[in-house]
Structures are given as structure tokens and as C-alpha cells.
Symmetry: C2
């Protein structure tokens, strides 16, 4: 059995209250008592039981991070940001991957209602609004990550999709491309819509008319992107450039274009969105999101909520990404 506070107080000849005060650096303890107690603590190698402490204090110093099963490339970088910020602020991190889509709520509310965590960071790009509503109702600190949220009562940290769409497109335009094919996400995806708005804005700023034929859709994965793209090819000439709304699509396209003999960047420039690590190896230009920073900010926002109880208005952070230029958009010489 581990050493407990009781053993310490018996050994030191003081009460539990006093030992507890020493542990928490309470000022109202005389110097001699404090030193005596500390000596015993050292000698018996006492570490207070966090469970008991948490039960008393009604807090766990732990935050939950809920990720979707799929979110591959981001995952580690984001979690890294979360973990580093959390550990700096002396919090622990419970991770949980939702296995089935729709699982999120059950897992989240279980963690929350069982009081295992003080707050939750939720990364669920496809979580429907009503589920968020439900989570909100549990009334525990919550930060939604990587999902621009309309609801002003929900704290969120997200990449500025509009700004990103604009920058990526502008980058292609600067390289001399004018017929820029956008492979967007599904209808109704807020992320996709905002990126599209940025894309259009960049065109407008360059006095290029928006051509609806040059915007095709996917489900943010390569398979659906391929189908759309082949459809496009049958009807139209190859564009100057392709702006894929995420890196998975872009990486898939890169490979695919090679197989059909289209050279990147000589025949067509290609840019992705997200900045997953693989893009570096693939020499793919992309708009990188500051994932680690997003993780850090999410933690900060969450802990701010946890530590000051009075209801504060929610914050919605929008972090800006940046274009990383690699071979796939190198200027044709």
C-alpha cells in the first residue's frame, strides 16, 4: 500500500489538516512545523493521491481531447500542441478517438458526466450542429477545434479558411495561372464554403471572372475527387492549376496526374490545403495550418474557461495559415 497522508501526520505528530496545509503551501503554518512535516514527507516518499484530492476539490486537472478516427495527418501535430500546452499549465490529457461516426457524443458526455475531465476539446469536422447543441447543454467547458462554428456561444479555434483559400489561389495567380480548377469539399461543409469564398475573392482581386465549371466537388477524399475530376476532363481542357481543398486530394491528384502523363508543375500547378507532413516528401505546395499552435490555443481557451467560473462570452479564434511553396507550384521557367 502506498504511503498516505495519515501516515505522515502520525509520523510527524501533527494533524491531517496541518499536513494538507504544508502540501498546499498554505501560509499559516509555522516554519518549524513545515520543515518537520516536509522532512517526513521526503523520508517516507509520500505522494498525495490525486483521486482523493480531485474528489475533494471537484476538479481533475485533466482535459479530454476527442478526435475523429480518420483525421490522420493532423492528429499528431495537433495533439502535440495540446499536450505541450496542457503540461505547461499542469493539466493531464485524456485522449479518445471516436470509432464510429456519431460516437462522439456518447464518449464526450460519459467523460464529462463522470467528472473525469474538467473540460473538452472536440475536434469533429463533421459533427452536426445539433450534437454540438447537446454537448453545450451539459454545460462544461468546451472548445471546438478546426471547425468554423456559426454559434457564437461556443468557443472555437479554427484556421481562417477564407484567408487560406485566398492566399492559395493568389499564390497560383502570381505564378501566372488563370484557369484555376478548384476541387472543393461537399456542399454545406462550412470549411469548404469558406475556402471557396477565399478562392473567389482572389479571382476577383485579379480580375478573373469566376467560372462555375472550374469548381468541382468531392467528399474531401481522393476517391470522390477522382470521379469529379475525370468527369471534368471529359468535358474541358486541362486547367493551368488545380487548387485542392485538402492535402489528401492533392496528394492523390499528384500521383494520378503522373500516371496519365500530366507533368506537375510544367503542365499544371498543384496546391493543397492543410499542411500535413507528407506534403514535404511529395514536394507538394500547400497552405499549412498552424496545427500545433491551434492545439495550444485550444488548451489555453479551455483552461481559461475552466479556471474562471463566471460565465464569459465565448471566443472564436481564427488562426491564419501560410502558403508553403514547393515543387508543385514552382514557376515554369
Amino acid at each position: 500500500m502506498a504511503v498516505t497522508l495519515k501516515q505522515i501526520c502520525e509520523e510527524a505528530g501533527v494533524s491531517k489538516a496541518t499536513v494538507s496545509r504544508v502540501l498546499n503551501n498554505h501560509p499559516l503554518v509555522s516554519k518549524e512545523t513545515r520543515e518537520k512535516v516536509q522532512e517526513v514527507i521526503q523520508r517516507l516518499k509520500f505522494t498525495p493521491n490525486a483521486l482523493a484530492r480531485n474528489l475533494s476539490l471537484r476538479r481533475t486537472d485533466t482535459i479530454g481531447v476527442l478526435f475523429p478516427w480518420i483525421f490522420n495527418g493532423f492528429f499528431s501535430t495537433l495533439l502535440r500542441g495540446v499536450d505541450s500546452a496542457a503540461s505547461e499549465l499542469n493539466y493531464h490529457v485524456i485522449t479518445s478517438l471516436s470509432h464510429d461516426a456519431g460516437d462522439e457524443n456518447a464518449m464526450a458526455s460519459r467523460l464529462l458526466k463522470e467528472r473525469r475531465i474538467d473540460g473538452l476539446i472536440l475536434m469533429a469536422p463533421s459533427l452536426p450542429a445539433d450534437q454540438i447543441e447537446e454537448l453545450k447543454s451539459i454545460d462544461v467547458p468546451l472548445v471546438v477545434l478546426q471547425r468554423e462554428i456559426a454559434d457564437p456561444e461556443v468557443n472555437s479555434v479554427s484556421v481562417d479558411n477564407f484567408d487560406g483559400g485566398l492566399k492559395a489561389t493568389a499564390h497560383l495567380i502570381e505564378r501566372g495561372c488563370r484557369r484555376i480548377l478548384a476541387i472543393a469539399g461537399p456542399q454545406g461543409s462550412l470549411d469548404s464554403d469558406r475556402r471557396e469564398a477565399g478562392y473567389r475573392e482572389a479571382l476577383k482581386q485579379a480580375d478573373i471572372a469566376f467560372d462555375p465549371d472550374l469548381l468541382i466537388r468531392s467528399n474531401f477524399n481522393k476517391e470522390t475527387a477522382f470521379t469529379s475530376f475525370e468527369n471534368f476532363r471529359r468535358r474541358f481542357a486541362m486547367p493551368d492549376a488545380i487548387f485542392c481543398f485538402n492535402d489528401e486530394i492533392a496528394l492523390g491528384m499528384l500521383k494520378y496526374l503522373k500516371t496519365i502523363g500530366v507533368r506537375v508543375p510544367e503542365d499544371v500547378a498543384l496546391i493543397g490545403f492543410d499542411g500535413i507532413e507528407f506534403t514535404e516528401f511529395a514536394e507538394l505546395s500547400t497552405l499549412t495550418m498552424p496545427m500545433q499552435e491551434m492545439g495550444r490555443q485550444a488548451v489555453r481557451l479551455l483552461i481559461k474557461q475552466i479556471e474562471c467560473k463566471e460565465k464569459r462570452t465565448a471566443e472564436q479564434l481564427l488562426l491564419k495559415g501560410a502558403v508553403v511553396e514547393r515543387n508543385s507550384t514552382r514557376r515554369r521557367s
Copy 2:
């Protein structure tokens, strides 16, 4: 304030003990009582407080997973395996990344001694033996991941490095390569040594004499690998194939060879080790380790230890990897 067990028992007109029995499906409760209590639980939306429960039961249903900061490609896949196995067995997962090397112990023992976790999965490829010794002394269930351990008292799950080295080399030999350069890890790395042994065994089986000049060393990263390789090039002719002892080196080499005009696989075949995801995009052949399965097995081993208290002899699982053939070792036609 959340609903507590006390409120349930008052509302249902029974004692705490009875409510607790209902919650835990204890058989000694009459049907009527059980139903009445359950109805109240439903109606008041009661969820028992895990902290209180844990304190009483002296267990947390939580395992810790400690990763090094660097272990990129593996990270998500491994964690995925851990998470899925843990959640199937009704355990939670606390993750922690050690930020500074050497941090591991402090973090691990803090989690363990504070009784926040019931056991620990430690992934620390570079953890010195004496630190493991120290962790062992805390005497809490522990599984070491991805590190062949000499100590028979420590449970571990690891890839079979010998088998992997053998298979990767044999794969190259089958493709007709005979001068096979191995870019190994540092001296004294158990992983590297075992892979090397496999490499040598494969050569021996093919009646190829081992040539010490064809074994160069790195620190398992591209920078040191480059230095060694350039050194090698100045003195010797290009080999038939290169077996890189991890994928990071292999991916770096792939890029590097391209810049110096050496074609893969036409001029030289290239194979990596580990099976990180990027290898797929890079068309790099590699020996993939079953990362997800390793995570799952580690959890299983750990929970087996947690749940049967009598000291059992430690198990050391060695999972075998498999060669995934991609373009970088495609047979020259």
C-alpha cells in the same frame, strides 16, 4: 451541481447501499426495488461520479501512454491501436508526450504515484536501461513498446527486428541485388543490431559474403545518414540496393538520390523499415510493422497484468512485420 447517489436514495426511499448495488448489478436486490431505483436514476439522469468510485475501488480504469516527442509517423497509428483496444476493454487513455528527453521518468512516476492510472505503456526507443529499472521499482503494471528488452521481468511488445531485417534483405536479393548497402542505426541500439543480424543472415542464406564496407551508420535520421552516405560514395561505387534501417532515412535518401541523378529503382533499389504512412505516397517499399496491432497487444498485456494481481511472469511479444513492395524495389525490366 450534478445529481448524486444520495439524492437517488432519498428519492427512491432506499439506502445508499441499495442504490450502489443496483448500479453494480449486484444480485442481492429484489426485482421491485431494482426497478424502482432504476426508474429514479433514469428520471434524474444520474451518472455516478467516477472519481468517488475510483477512490473507493482503488483503481481508475485508466491507462497511461507515454510517447517520446519525436516518434512521428508511428504515433497516430500506434495510439489508434491503443485507444481502440482500451475502449473495447472499458479503459480510458491518458497520453503524455515527454518533451525533453529524460523527462519520461518524472512524468511516468507522477502519473503512477498519484494513482491517476492503473498501468503504463511506455514507448521510449532511447530510454536507458537504468531508467526502466527505476520504473520497475514503482511496481505498477508496465508494458514497454517497440523496444526489444533484454530484461525478462519487463513486459514488452516489439517488432521482430531480426525477422524484419532478414525479410527486407531477402526481398532485395530476390530482386537480383547482391551489393546491398545497409544504412544502420547507431552502435548499441538494440533495434539496429537486431536488424543488422537479420541483414547478415539473409546474405548468408544467399551465399553472399558480408562486406563491412557495405554497412554504414546513422543516428536514425536523414542528416547523419547523408553524411555517412557521402562518405561511402567518395570511396566506393554505387551499390545495387540500399536498405535503410528506418523510413525517415529511406525517404530522405529517395529525395537525395533524385537530386544527384541516381534513378530509383533503375539504378539502385531502395527499401525502408517501419512502414510509416508517407511511404505509400513516396512509392517507397518498406518493411511495415503492424503498429496498430502492437498498440492493441500492448493494451491487452497491460490490462491482463492489472486485472490479475498475483505476480505473473512477464511476457515479451515479438510481432512480425511484412515487406510492402512499391516502386522503389520494382524489378528492373
